[in-house]
Amino acid sequence: MSAEARIAELKLELPAAPKPAHVYKPVVIAGNMCYVSGHGPLKTDKTMITGVVGKDLNLEQGQAAARQVGLAILATVRNELGSLDRVKRLVKTLGMVNTAADFYDHPKVINGFSELMRDVFGDDAGVGARSAVGMGPLPGNIAVEVECIFELR
C-alpha cells in the first residue's frame, strides 16, 4: 500500500509544514537523498510539546511528542516533494530527547517516531538506522527533536 494511502487509512492529521525560523532549510534534496532538518513536536494548533522527559513528562507523553515530530516531518517532506509516495525508504534517524539526568529510556521515547514511520512506509522501507540519545536543553525546551534522511525514488 502506498504511503499516501496508508496516511489516509490511518486517518493521520498532519500539522502545517513548519517554516524555518533561522538560517536553514527544512529539507534539502541532494541526488536522491532527502536530508530533513531537526523538527520539534509541532501540533496542528501550531504549538510545540515542551518539557523535560523524566521530569515534566512521563514516558508515554515523551512517546506522543516523538510521534508528533514524525507527523511534522511527514508534513514537511510532503510539502517539498508533492507526495510522500516519492519516498523510497527511511535511511537514518537521529532522535534527541530532552531528558532528565537519570532518564535512560531514550529508545522507547523515539519509538514514538519510528513506529509511525513503520506504519506509514512499511516494515522494510519504514525501518532505518537510528540513534536515540538524551540531550540537554533543546530549542524552546521542546520535549523531542528528530532529524532524518530519506532515500527518494
Binding site: N32, A100, A101, H106, P107, R118, V133, G136, L152
Partner: protein, 216 residues
C-alpha cells in the same frame, strides 16, 4: 484479349515461403530483438545513486588481514528483534549508515557511567574503542567482509558527561584511532563531531554512529 501484366521481377518482394528459409526464422528474429531490447533496458541506469567521490588508491583486500594482524576481538553483532523499529545498518547506494552503537564490553556487558564523573577520560576512551569494535562487527555482518569498506566518511561521537566536561574529542579518539589502525590514515580518517550529551540509553558512557563509503 487482355492479359494480366507480368509482375515486374524487381518490384514484387518474394514471400518467405518461396525461399529456402527456415520457417522458424521470423520467430527467432523477433525473440532476438526482444532479448536485445530487454538487455538494453536493464543496462539503463536507475535513478541516480548518491556518489561520494574519493581519490584514494584502488582498494587492496587488506582490511580483514589488518584486523587479524591487530588480533582484534570483534564482539558478536547485535540483532534487533522482529518487532524492532530500527535496523543496525542501512546501505544506500555506496554509503552505509550505521545506527548508534552503545559502549559494551566484548561479553556484551554495558559500559556505563558519565565520563569525567564515574569514569576517567582513559576509561571513556576505551568505551569509545569498544563502540568501534561493535561497529566493525556489524559492518562485517552486513557486507560479508570489511574489505568492502572504502573509507570512513562521517562520525558522530557522543559522550555521556556532566556540564563543563571538555575532553570529548580525546574520548572519541578511542573510536577514531581504532579506525586509523584498521583502515589506515587515508581511509580511516573521516569527518567527525565529538560532543557531550546529557544522557544516553541505559546510562552508557559513549555512543557512536557513523557513515562509511563501501563498494556497492
Amino acid at each position: 484479349m487482355s492479359t494480366k501484366p507480368k509482375p515486374s521481377v524487381t518490384a514484387v518482394p518474394t514471400p518467405a515461403r518461396n525461399l529456402n528459409l527456415n520457417p522458424a526464422l521470423p520467430r527467432l528474429l523477433i525473440s532476438a530483438t526482444l532479448l536485445v531490447c530487454t538487455l538494453l533496458t536493464a543496462c539503463q541506469a536507475p535513478s541516480p545513486q548518491p556518489q561520494v567521490t574519493t581519490t584514494v588508491t584502488p582498494l587492496p583486500d587488506t582490511i580483514e588481514r589488518r584486523v587479524a594482524e591487530l588480533k582484534l576481538t570483534l564482539p558478536a553483532p547485535t540483532k534487533p528483534g522482529p518487532a524492532a523499529t530500527i535496523t543496525s545498518v542501512v546501505v544506500s547506494g555506496n554509503l552505509a549508515f550505521v545506527s548508534g552503537h552503545i559502549s559494551r564490553y566484548a561479553d556484551g556487558k554495558l559500559i556505563t557511567g558519565r565520563v569525567g564523573e564515574e569514569l576517567t577520560v582513559a576509561q571513556g576512551k576505551d568505551a569509545a574503542r569498544q563502540c568501534g569494535l561493535a561497529i566493525l562487527a556489524q559492518l562485517r555482518q552486513e557486507l560479508g567482509s570489511l574489505d568492502r569498506v572504502r573509507r570512513v566518511v562521517k562520525v558522530l561521537g557522543m559522550v555521556n558527561c556532566p556540564p563543563g566536561f571538555k575532553d570529548q574529542p580525546q574520548v572519541i579518539n578511542g573510536f577514531s584511532e581504532l579506525m586509523l589502525d584498521v583502515f589506515g590514515r587515508e581511509r580511516g580518517l573521516g569527518a567527525r563531531s565529538a560532543v557531550g550529551v546529557a544522557s544516553l540509553p541505559s546510562n552508557v558512557a559513549v555512543e557512536v554512529e557513523a557513515v562509511f563509503e563501501i563498494v556497492p
